[in-house]
């Protein structure tokens, strides 16, 4: 059993068979052969060995004729290794006595030899390459025409690869992929994004390990702890099976409340919407019973390709979501990226503080053609359903007015060309800077709704870079400063009769549900996977109780105190629910 530590990028646990993707895309689908088929498989193995030997002889002769004996020597060596009696005996025993499928036998056995060579510390370790070469040739002759593409997977597998390219993930049959593990990659990598979107476990950055695993082998993928366990022992398998069972039970329970509204015990209806990044996530939100999309992040459109997305690229994505939501509101946020992600394209100098620099609405206002393209697409989509637009990182009234002016201008343009759109499309802003909170009473008169982006609000308020692990413990959603800003924002919005929601990570964490409801929040926008949990949380509390909890929390001096208090309250509520 080999336990490997990588970076956990998508949670969950899965136990299954490995599908190893090497550079030639080889897959070994099965491990065991039926006893009755052993003779046939032995014959197939012998056949493949003979075919491989013939290939090698042909290569040897060709090279010998062209370049002489010395160069042919390598093929002689390969032939000698292929015909090695010990190897032959082992391969046959693997098929006959252990009932391994020939492909699996070849891969396992040869890789074991390769490892032995790799562990030698003189030049003979190079022979490992020869072993891999022989393995490849044998596999090619064994799999023959049956080497299938990724798209043709027909049984559940866990995909193990050096790295997964966008095109490979695009061709995977999502019904059968249980999880991914790759040698390369980090938290923001493509593999991570896709796995999250598919809601399957994924571990990246494991480092070299493909040499230690053969296709068809049992593997446990622990996406919670970032572990890849090769050839797990009985005990480990049993333990993980238990975990899986427990997770399934919870999931089943949450499914039950899918069609129920997020209504508190004292009858207050909470709007529960989803945060999405890809059009496909809209389905996931619907599957869990949501009231709409509270935040559609549009950055992926800009990051997914090297050139700027066209108006039609934007429109296609927005239309897909709006149509999927069938009349439920969809809030589309305009570009929220920094120049640091875009400077290569936009010819902007590198910034020292991208967080505080030319990003989001500032960037859009300086790159008007790009901004207008996005707004045009959003407006066109507004003809298809309840679409609302939201501007990120607004910190001055001038910015807001300029953005609205551009929007009005684009509207005129569309009207002139007779293109349909909703002239009354609601316009909102994100409240994510202290400035926005302090001046909210001014802003609120000029927007139709606000969304509090707690991720950035916390960062700017506490002056902590949440990506910096040295100060990560200072980044606290329940810091009293943040709570006061939240309360003020919600109070201002309520007085003005303008809807407000929270769309940062805080809203998706059930630890904060009671607090947020108690502060007056009646709309929460959360990642699709959090919808069931948060709905459950809303349904098991009363607003009256929540108000008391919020008051108490606001009276505390420090984040730690607040956190401990909220955790305790959560525990109590859960205990009550079970009772």
């Amino acid at each position: 059993m080999l336990k490997l530590q990588g970076i956990a990028v998508s949670p969950g646990v899965t136990i299954g068979e490995a599908l190893v993707l090497d550079s030639e895309g080889f897959r070994i689908p099965r491990r065991f052969v039926e006893r009755s088929a052993v003779d046939t498989e032995l014959a197939r193995l012998a056949h493949a060995i003979a075919a491989t030997a013939r290939e090698m002889e042909r290569n040897r002769d060709a090279i010998r004729a062209e370049l002489g004996e010395q160069y042919a020597a390598i093929f002689e060596a390969h032939l000698a290794m292929l015909h090695d009696e010990k190897l032959q005996r082992e391969l046959q025993a693997a098929v006959r006595d252990r009932n391994w499928w020939p492909e699996y036998a070849v891969s396992r056995t040869l890789r074991r030899y390769a490892k032995v060579f790799q562990s030698l510390d003189n030049h003979i370790s190079q022979r490992a390459h020869d072993i891999y070469d022989i393995e490849k040739s044998l596999l090619r002759n064994l799999l023959g025409q049956r080497r299938e593409t990724l798209a043709a997977i027909s049984q559940p597998v866990i995909v193990l690869a050096h790295n997964l390219t966008p095109s490979e993930t695009a061709t995977l049959d999502r019904r059968f992929v249980q999880g991914f593990a790759t040698e390369l990659g980090g938290p923001g990598s493509h593999t991570a994004i896709v796995a999250e979107g598919l809601e399957i476990p994924a571990v990246v950055g494991v480092g070299p390990f493909l040499a230690d695993v053969s296709g068809g082998e049992p593997v446990i993928l622990d996406g919670n702890q970032g572990l890849v366990i090769l050839q797990p022992d009985e005990e480990t398998i049993a333990r993980y099976r238990q975990e899986l069972e427990a997770a399934r039970t919870v999931a089943a329970q949450l499914k039950e409340i899918r069609d129920l509204p997020a209504e508190t015990t004292d009858g207050v209806r909470i709007q529960l919407t989803g945060n999405i990044e890809f059009p496909s996530e809209a389905e996931q939100c619907l599957a869990r019973g949501c009231d709409g999309i509270g935040l559609y992040r549009t950055e992926f459109l800009y990051l997914a390709s090297r050139t700027e997305p066209t108006e039609d690229d934007h429109y296609a994505a927005y239309a897909e979501v709006v149509q999927a939501m069938a009349g439920r509101p969809v809030v589309i946020r305009t570009l929220d990226l920094g120049a640091d992600k875009m400077h290569a394209r936009l010819n902007i100098e590198e910034e020292r503080n991208p967080c505080l620099g030319l990003r989001s609405i500032r960037l859009s206002l300086r790159q008007l053609p790009m901004f207008r393209t996005q707004l045009r697409a959003i407006l066109r989509a507004s003809a298809l359903g309840d679409v609302r637009v939201m501007f990120p990182l607004i910190s001055t009234i001038v910015e807001l007015r300029q953005a609205r002016m551009v929007l009005a201008d684009v509207m005129e343009d569309l009207a002139e060309h007779g293109i349909a759109f909703n002239r009354k499309m609601p316009v909102g802003m994100m409240v994510e800077t202290p400035a926005a909170v302090m001046m909210l009473d001014t802003f609120i008169k000029e927007v139709d709704f606000v969304s509090i982006g707690t991720n950035d609000l916390i960062q700017y308020t506490l002056a902590v870079d949440r990506g910096n692990k040295d100060v990560a413990d200072l980044y606290n959603a329940c810091d009293p400063a943040v709570l006061r800003l939240l309360r003020r924002s919600l109070d201002v919005a309520r007085e003005a009769g303008v809807p407000a929601n929270v769309c940062g990570q805080m809203s998706g964490s059930v630890m904060y549900t009671q607090l947020l409801l108690g502060l007056g929040l009646r709309q929460l926008s959360v990642p699709p996977s959090a919808i069931p949990e948060v709905k459950q949380a809303c349904r098991s509390v009363s607003v009256a109780e929540c108000r008391l909890i919020a008051e108490k929390a606001l009276a505390m001096d420090g984040a730690r105190e607040v956190k401990a208090y909220l955790r305790d309250q959560l525990r109590r509520r859960l205990a009550q629910a079970v009772a």
Binding site: E76, A80, L120
Partner: protein, 104 residues
Amino acid sequence: MSGADTVGVQTLTREVVVANSQGLHARPADMLAREARKWQSRIELVDGSQRVDGKSILDVLTLAAEAGRRLVVEATGPDAREAIEAIGGLFERKFNEHGTEQTS
């Protein structure tokens, strides 16, 4: 030395030195294994605690014997004597490293 229990089965040993500049790499390992397979006897190469099958090129390679290494060739069987001679000869001739042919 002759084994007292089994009729006609002897185990003979001979110490050899790897004299090739590149040690016991693919080509000499191949020659060694081929030669060993000509004989009935079991042939093993011993290097301290490591013991490998002389008829398997893969096994011989895993010895990773570099130039100057001393090994013991062990042959067990009816033609042990002839086998040892032949294999010992290979080592002496440095496995024809530079194409030097010698009549044995």
